[in-house]
C-alpha cells in the first residue's frame, strides 16, 4: 500500500510539473449537438401519419428518406448511406427523427445502412364511418335490411350487454339498416355468444338449421371463439365452431360495440 501511494504521488508531481496538457486528450470528446448518426426513434405516443411521411420524404435533399403506405402499413426508410446530415428531417419531425452525436456508423453491408420504421395503420375509422360503409354494402347486397338473430349459448351475459348497447340511442345500429329479429327464421346472421354450454347445444343446432340459407354465423367473444376461460369441460363444448360452422370470429371479453360492428362488416365482405 505504502509503496503504491508513493508511486501515485510521484506521478502527480510529474503531471503538475508538465507545462502543456496533451492536446490529443483535450479534443477527445464529441460535442453533444454534433450531427452524427441519424436514427429513427419515435416518441412514446408518436403516431405516423400519411402526411408526416410525405413531408419527411420531401424534406430530404438527397432522397435518403422514402415513405411507403400500402394501406395497412406505413413505412419510413432512412438510408444513412445517402444522408448528408443536414438535419432538415429533424426539424420537420422531431418526434420521430433523432440526430445523435454517435459516430459508429460503419456497416459491413450496404443494406444495413438502411433503417426502417414501420407502423401498422391505427384503425382510424369511427363507428359512424364503419356503419355508413356497412349500410352501403347492405343496400348493394340485400337491397333491404340485414337481420340478425342473437343466440346466447351459455355466455356470462357480458357480451349481451354489449350487443344490447348496439341498440341503444348512442350506437343505434338500426340506422345502418341492421335489425335484431325475434326468430332465426327471419335472420341472415346468427350472432352467437358463450362457450356453447352442452345444455344449449341442441337448441343452437335447431336454431342454425332453422336459419334460411345463405346464412352467416359470427362467434362473439373469447368464449364463443375458443371456450374462453371455461374451456372445454363436461358442461361446455369449447367454442361455437364445435357445433356449427363459424364464418367470422370476434374476440374480446366482451367485444365493445365498435368491435361488433367491425365484425359484422367483415362478415358482409365475405359474401
Amino acid at each position: 500500500m505504502k509503496k503504491s501511494d508513493k508511486t501515485n504521488h510521484l506521478i502527480d508531481i510529474s503531471f503538475k510539473s508538465a507545462a502543456i496538457k496533451d492536446p490529443l486528450k483535450m479534443d477527445d470528446t464529441v460535442a453533444a449537438n454534433y450531427r452524427g448518426y441519424v436514427i429513427l426513434d419515435p416518441d412514446k405516443d408518436f403516431v405516423l401519419k400519411d402526411e408526416t411521411g410525405k413531408i419527411l420524404e420531401n424534406s430530404c435533399p438527397t432522397h435518403a428518406i422514402t415513405f411507403q403506405n400500402d394501406g395497412s402499413n406505413l413505412k419510413i426508410h432512412l438510408d444513412n448511406g445517402k444522408c448528408i446530415l443536414c438535419g432538415n428531417c429533424q426539424v420537420k419531425s422531431p418526434e420521430l427523427i433523432k440526430i445523435t452525436n454517435k459516430f459508429n456508423l460503419a456497416k459491413k453491408r450496404r443494406d444495413d445502412l438502411i433503417e426502417t420504421f414501420s407502423m401498422s395503420v391505427p384503425f382510424g375509422k369511427t363507428y359512424d364511418e364503419l356503419g355508413q360503409e356497412l349500410k352501403s354494402k347492405i343496400n348493394k347486397i340485400f337491397g333491404r335490411s340485414l337481420t340478425i338473430r342473437e343466440i346466447d349459448a351459455g355466455s356470462c351475459n357480458g357480451c349481451e350487454i354489449e350487443i344490447n348497447a348496439l341498440n341503444n340511442s348512442v350506437y343505434d345500429i338500426e340506422r345502418f339498416g341492421i335489425t335484431f329479429v325475434a326468430s332465426p327464421r327471419h335472420a341472415d346472421i346468427l350472432l352467437v355468444t358463450g362457450p356453447a354450454s352442452k345444455n344449449m347445444e341442441r337448441a343452437l343446432k335447431i336454431a342454425y338449421d332453422s336459419t334460411p340459407n345463405p346464412k352467416i354465423v359470427i362467434a362473439v367473444g373469447a368464449c364463443a371463439c375458443s371456450g374462453g376461460i371455461f374451456g372445454n369441460n363436461y358442461a361446455t363444448t369449447g367454442g361455437i365452431d364445435n357445433i356449427v360452422p363459424v364464418n367470422v370470429y370476434i374476440p374480446g371479453c366482451p367485444p365493445r360495440p365498435q368491435a361488433l360492428l367491425y365484425g359484422i362488416l367483415m362478415a358482409i365482405n365475405k359474401i
Binding site: 342473437e150 343466440i151 346466447d152 349459448a153 351459455g154 355466455s155 356470462c156 351475459n157 357480458g158 357480451c159 349481451e160 350487454i161 354489449e162 350487443i163 344490447n164 348497447a165 341498440n167 341503444n168 340511442s169 348512442v170 350506437y171 335484431f180 325475434a182 326468430s183 332465426p184 358463450g194 362457450p195 354450454s197 352442452k198 345444455n199 344449449m200 341442441r202 337448441a203 336454431a207 374462453g228 376461460i229 371455461f230 374451456g231 372445454n232 369441460n233 363436461y234 358442461a235 361446455t236 371479453c253 366482451p254 365493445r256
Partner: protein, 540 residues
Amino acid sequence: MSHKEIIRKYYSKLGKFDSDIKKIENNNELHLVLNDPNKLHDFCKFLKQDFDLRLLTIICCDERKLNHGFKIRHVFGSDADDFFLFVTIFIDESHPHFPSLYDVFPSSILYEREINDMFGLIAKGNPNIKPLILHDFPNNVFPLRKDFNLNDDVKRNLKQFEFTPITGEGVCEIPVGPIHAGIIEPGHFRFSVLGETIINLETRLGYTHKGIEKLAESMSINDVVFLSERISGDESIANSVAFCQAIEKIAKLTISQKAKQIRLLFAELERIYNHFGTLGGILADVGFPYGASRLNILKEQIMQLNERLSGSRILFGVNQIGGVKISITDEMLIDIHFVLDDAFQIFEKIFDHLKSNPSVMDRLRNTGIIEKQLARDRGLVGISSRCIGIETDARQTHPYGYYPSINLKQKTLRETMEHQVELQKRIGDVLSRFMSRVDDLRQSKAIIDSITTLKDDGLSMSMNDELIPYSSGLGYAESHRGETLHWVMIGEDNSIFRYKIRTASFSNWPVIEHAVLNNIVADFPVINKSFDFSYSGNDL
C-alpha cells in the same frame, strides 16, 4: 357488538342441544356440527322459531377422502346481526340420504335439488327432486364429486323433461325458450294459460351451466378471481369482491383502506349502470321507448366512465386477492363525481316525467305482485325482498369493506317518516320494484358522493405463505340483485377444494313462478325484467 359477543349471545341459547353439537368459531361464523343427521330437522325448527334466522344456502362438499363422507353445511343468517350460523351434518356414502327442510324453510327445496343433481345425495321428503341444472345427464354421474373429472365426456341421452301437467277445459300451454325473442340469456318457461291469464308457470333453467364450481377446483386461487368475474358479467365486481373477501378471510389478510374505497366505488358504479339498464328495460317492456332510450344513454355514459377508469366497460379485471389492480387518482374521482352529478340530474328529470305519465304507471302498478310471506319463505334477497318492505342488504347487515366507514347524511325525522310511508306503499308489484331500484340508485349516488378524498396506503397486499389446508371462509357482497355468498374451502398447496357460489339470482328465481300468476301473458316480460335475474348467475 363484536363478532365474539354476537356468537356468545346465540350460543348461550342452544342449551338443550348442548350434548349433540360441537362448536367451532371462525370470525363471524359459528359452525355447529350435529352428531346425528336425524336431529337436523328439529334443530332447524328451533332455529327458525327462537332465533328468527333465515336459510341462506346449503353447501355440500365431498370430503370422503378426509372424513369418509359428505359434509352438508346449512348456512343461516340473521337480519339483525352480522352473524352466520353453519349447521353441519355428515352423510355416509352408503346411505346417500339427508333430511329435507322443506317444511321449515321452503327455500331449501332448491338447494336440495341442486345437491341431488351435483352430488347424488337425496333429500328425504323433498317434494320436488326434478333435475335442476344438468340436462339429459345420466343418473349415476355427479359432477361435483371428487371422483368425477372436470374433462370427463359425459354421454348425454335426450330425455323429455317432465313439466307438471295442467289440464282442464280451455287450458293451453305456451312453451317459451330456451332462445328468447330479445337479446337475453336462455331459459325455458312453460306457461299454462286460461285465455290471456297465466294460471301456472314452470321454469326450467340450467341452459348456461358451464361447470364453474367444478372448474374452480382445477384453477389457481388467483385465476379464480377472473372466473368469479365471469359468473355473471354484469355482477363482476360483486362476485369478485365476495370471492376475494372469502380468501382474505381465510388468509386473515386486512386489505388497505384505499383498496376498500376503490372496491366500493366500482361496486356502486356497477350497481348504478345496471339499475339504469333495468329501469330502461322495464320501460321498454311497457312500450315507453322514450324513457328507455334516455335511461340507456345514462347507462352508456356510466359504462364509458367505467372504461376510462378501469379499461373495461363492464369492470372486468379490477379486483385481485389482497386488494385491487386498478388505482383511482384524484382526477378520476373528480371525473366520477362529474359524470354522476350530470347523469343523476338528467335521471331525476326523466323520473319526474315518468311519475306523471299515467300510461307507464298504470302498467307498472298492481302487476306481478308477490306476497310478504312468500318473500320470507323463499328467502328472497335484494330488490325482490325490498319491494315488499323486507330490508335485506348485505351492506348493512354484514358490513364489509369500506361500507362501515361510510357516513351518510342523517335523515331528519320528517324524512324518516316520509320514507316509512313510502315503504308502506310497497306492495310487491312491478312499481314497487321500480321504486326500490330508484331508491337504490339514489343511495349509491350518496355513497359515492360521501367519498371525497382517497386514502393513500397502497393498492394491494401480497398474501404471505400458504393457506392452511381445509380451512374455509364465507365471502359476501351485495350485488345489484342482492346478497351474494361465496364459500371457499382451501385444499392442499393453495388449491381450491370447494367453491360454492350462491348468487342472489339463484335464491330469487323461483319467485317468478308466483309473481306471474293471474297476470296476462303480455305482462310476463315486464315482470321478468322488474326482477332482472341473471340466468348465468343461476346456472353457474
